[in-house]
Amino acid sequence: MNRPPVRRLVALLAGMALAMATIVVRLSVLQVSQADAYQTRALDQRLSTVTLPAARGQILDRSEEPLALSLPARDVYADPRYVVDPWATAVRLSPVLHMAVKDLLSPLTAHTSFAYLARQVPLSEADRIERMHLPGIGFLSSTRRVYPAGPVAAQVLGFVGVDGTGLSGLELQYQRLLAGVAGRRTQELDPSGQPIVGGIDVERPPVPGMDLVTTIDRDFQYQVQAALEQAVKANHAAGGEVIVMNPHTGEIYAMASYPWFDPNAFSTAKQSTMRNAPVTDAFEPGSVCKVITAAAAIQERAVRLDERFTVPDQMQIGTFTIHDAHSHPPEPMTIGDIVAQSSNIGAVLVAQRLGPARMATYLSRFGLGQPTGVGFPGESSGLLLPLYQWTDTSLATMAYGQGISATALQMAAVYATIANGGVWVRPRLVRGMVDAQGVFHAAPPSPTRRVVSAETARAVSEMLAFTVQSGTGVAAQIPGYQVAGKTGTARIPKPSGGYYTDRDIASFIGFLPAASPDVVILATLDRPATIYGGVAAAPLFQTVARYAIERLGIPPGDRLPLPPHLQPVG
C-alpha cells in the first residue's frame, strides 16, 4: 500500500531545504567569512614578481676608457627529465659551449630537474643554442664581466664571481657602489603568461651601479707593464713591482706587479698572481729607507749639511758587524755623500745622532707601520716595531732599511713626501664616480700632513739628485732631465730568522724633474741575477720615467744645486 503523498512531499521539502541551507552556509563561508583569503590566493596565482637586476657600473681609466664592463649573457641549464637523447644533445652543445662532451653528459643525465650546463654564456652563443630547439635545455638571463684590455692593471681592478659580486681589487672595494640596487616588477598575468590589460603592473626600477673613474692611465699602465716584464726577464728575477704616482695629488697613474693574470680567465690563474703586491705585500726596503734617516737628521738639526763624517766600511753593533756594500778605507763623507754612495755605516752614524725615539717618530710620520689609507682590500701596514721592542741593533739596521718592512706603496709615498715639499699625501686609485645620469662626482682630495719642512725636503732632493748624478743611481739618468732618486739592495729575511745570503730585492725610487717633480716612480725587482738596485732596478726606473715624460708631457724644468759633498762629481 502506498504511503500518503503529503509525508513524502514534506520529506522531500525538508531534504531540499537542508541542501539549500548547506549551499547557503557554504556560500557564506566562501563569499563572506573566507572571501579575503580566497581573493588573496586568486590574486597570488595571477601575480608574478620578477627581480630586475641592476646593471653593474663600469670601471674606467682616468680618460674614461673602459677597463671593466658588464655585458648581457645567459646561463644555460638542462632539465634532464625532458632531455630526449643526452649523447646527441651533448655532441651538439659541445662546440658552442667549448666544453667536452663527457663534461656535458654528467648534468644532462643527472637525476634532478635543474642542472647548469654553462654560466655567463655570450648572447651570440646562447642564441645559436636556442635556435637548435633542444628539448630540456633552458636559459636564464645573466651578465658577464669583461676586461677589454686583458691583464692591464689586472691586480688593481680585481674580478667578480659568477654571481656578479666583486671578489678582489677595486671590484671588491667598491662593490656597493658598482653593484647598484636591484629593482622589482609585479604584473598580473593570464594563464598563458601574458599581462592582463588594466591589471596590476607595479615596477620599482633598478638603480644601476655607478661607474668608477680610476686614476690609472690605461695606455701608460700597459707601457709600464711591458717595461716591467722585460726587466724581470732580462734580470732573471722572480718578479717585480712598479708604481707611478703624482706626488702632489697622490693619484696613481700606474701600478703593476709581475707576474700578473688575465681577469677574463681568473679561474685558471695562480692565486699568487692575483695579489696587488705593491699594496698587499711588505718587504724590507733596504737603502731606499736612508732617505728617512737623512730627512729626520736634517729636520732635527742632528747633522749639518757640510759636516764631515769619517766613515769606515764596517762597524760593530753589539754582536753584529755591519758592512758597507763595498770595502773601503775610512772616508770623509758629508750626509750628501752618505746618501749618494749609499753607505750603511754612514747612515748608522747619522741615526746615532738622532737616537731611537726621534728615528721611530720619523719612520712613523713618513707613514711606515700603518696603512696608507688607500682603502684597497688586503692592504698591509708593513712592520714597524714599537719603540719598547727595539733591540740594540734596531736603530742601526733601520737606519738603512733592514729590520723594518713596508709596502711598495708606503715607500712611494715616502718619496712623494720629499717631492711634495715635505707634505705626505695619501695615495689614491680613484678620481671619482659617474652616476646614471652621466654626472661626474669627484672624490674628495687626499688628506695630507706635513712631515718635514720644505727646506729639509729640498735639501734631501739635492742629495737624491746627487745620487743620480754621481752616486749609485747613475743608471737612472735621463739626458736633459735632472732625476732625483735612491737605490736599494735589501736582503730577504728568512721565516725562521736571519737573512738569505742569496736572495735580495733590488729597488730604485725617485722623481723628476728634481726641482719641481711631476711624478714619483718606484721600481723593484725580486731576486734579480744582479742584485744591486743601481744595476737591476735603476734601468727599469729610467725606462718607465721616459715613458712618463712622453705620456704626461713633463718638461725638463730647472736644476737643483748639488749638496755639500766631499766625493767627486761624476
Binding site: L69, V197, A226, I478, G480
Partner: protein, 99 residues
Amino acid sequence: MILGLVALNALLAQSSFRVDDLERRMVALSQDHLELVHEQATLSAPGRIAAWARRHGMRLPDDIRFLHVPPAGPAAPAGAADPLDRLQRTVSHVVDGGP
C-alpha cells in the same frame, strides 16, 4: 555599448603589446650599445695596438725631444699668420735633449 567596450579593450591590448615590443627593442638596443662599447674598448686596447704596430715595423722613439717655443713677439711679420710659417720658425728653435 558592448561593441564600444570590446573596441576599447582591443585598443588597450594593442597598446600593451606595443609597449612590450618597445621595451624589448630598448633592451636589445642597450645590449647592442654595450657590445659596441666592448668592441671599441677591445680594439683600442694598448696591447692590441702595440702588437699591430710591431707587426708593421713601428717602434718607440729612441730619444725625447722638446720644442722650446719662443715667446710671441710684439708684431708678427707679414705672412706670419700662416701656421706653417709659425711651425717653421718654431722648429728652428728646437733644442734636442733640453737644457
